[in-house]
Amino acid sequence: MDGPSRPGDPHDDQATRNYLEHIAALHRDWDELESRGDDSVQLSRRARSALSEAVRADARHGARVDMPPTHIGPYTLTELALRTLIRDTIDDIDGVVSLRTTIDYDPGRGWNSRGLPRRVECHISAVETTPDLPGLAEQVRSAVRGACARELDLPDLPIDVHIEDLHEH
């Protein structure tokens, strides 16, 4: 057996059976308390809320990415900002959830900097009832390409789409 102990093995002696029943009862009670939101078996609401704030305050922004200069001058944005723009664009499409975006860049001008984006690969999850996966992939490609052209002045950026997972709803 390679899992936690479970009651019901006829070879167990009485003490072992009592033990297994006790552990099973603990699991049942704790699961019920947790599902009711009881603070005695989990983080308090205060701690839970502090944790969320700390996570948001400690986001990894990644390297600075060169963008095509505007008529006023050059500008950069972070890898996180670029990935967030792409993720939000994909999430707006019905039946699709963005999973991860990988981006190839031109060489940067120094440590912690990237050149212009050269290629984007979008890893997505699609609703399992999607009737036309190639059509959906094309819709994702078109939306991301459009967003990069419209928001970042990066027209004709090659966009690869990889349907990595299917989800239920």
Binding site: A54, R87, H167
Partner: protein, 192 residues
């Protein structure tokens, strides 16, 4: 804009880990909600103290968020979180056990937490009574045995996963769990 939390909540751990690696704090929030309860059980049964356990769970999840880019297999996020939590809790329990056997130095007197405070009724009421009773039994064992037993019997991990989480061989993990189980069974006999 992230998809509604309800939609994220339907995603697998793997999908949430990938999105969190991509920088989405909302996806990591769902992972927190999904795992903080089980991490709390692990920490509490190793440490036997509510406040310390809460601190360990918070540290575990914040460390995971900071190091998420190092997680190579997003399918393993569940075991990875348990590993961070159990190692941290075991370190604290070991330190506490060492301190208990050291002669008290004067400078430690102010810092040392009185174990009897855990029997304080106001404190005790914070934690579920069954959990407290079990934590008291586990507190009589070596911290390494406690961690192995908890990951097996409470978190349902396999021997192989436990060995990886605690950086011991699989046969060591099996031996510790067997000893811990016998110990707990003996205590339960006394309850009857």
């Amino acid at each position: 804009m992230s998809p509604p939390t309800r939609r994220l909540a339907e995603l697998s751990d793997r999908a949430l880990a990938l999105r969190a690696q991509d920088g989405d704090p909302d996806a990591f929030d769902v992972l927190i909600d999904r795992h903080q309860g089980r991490l709390f059980r692990i920490a509490y049964l190793v440490l036997g103290d509510r406040q310390d356990s809460e601190d360990v769970v918070q540290e575990t999840l914040l460390t995971a968020w900071k190091r998420l880019h190092l997680l190579e297999d997003p399918d393993a996020v569940r075991a990875w979180l348990a590993q961070i939590c159990s190692r941290r809790a075991t370190d604290i329990a070991r330190r506490r056990a060492r301190r208990a056997t050291d002669a008290h130095r004067p400078e430690d007197l102010h810092r040392h937490r009185d174990p009897s405070s855990r029997a304080d009724p106001a404190h005790a009421s914070e934690v579920n009574a069954q959990m407290r009773a079990l934590a008291q039994v586990l507190a009589t064992m070596d911290p390494d045995l406690r961690a192995c037993w908890t990951l097996r019997e409470i978190d349902g991990m396999s021997y192989r996963q436990i060995a990886a989480a605690l950086d011991v061989t699989e046969s060591t993990a099996r031996g510790r769990i067997a000893r811990a189980r016998t110990h707990v069974i003996d205590y339960m006999k006394e309850w009857r």
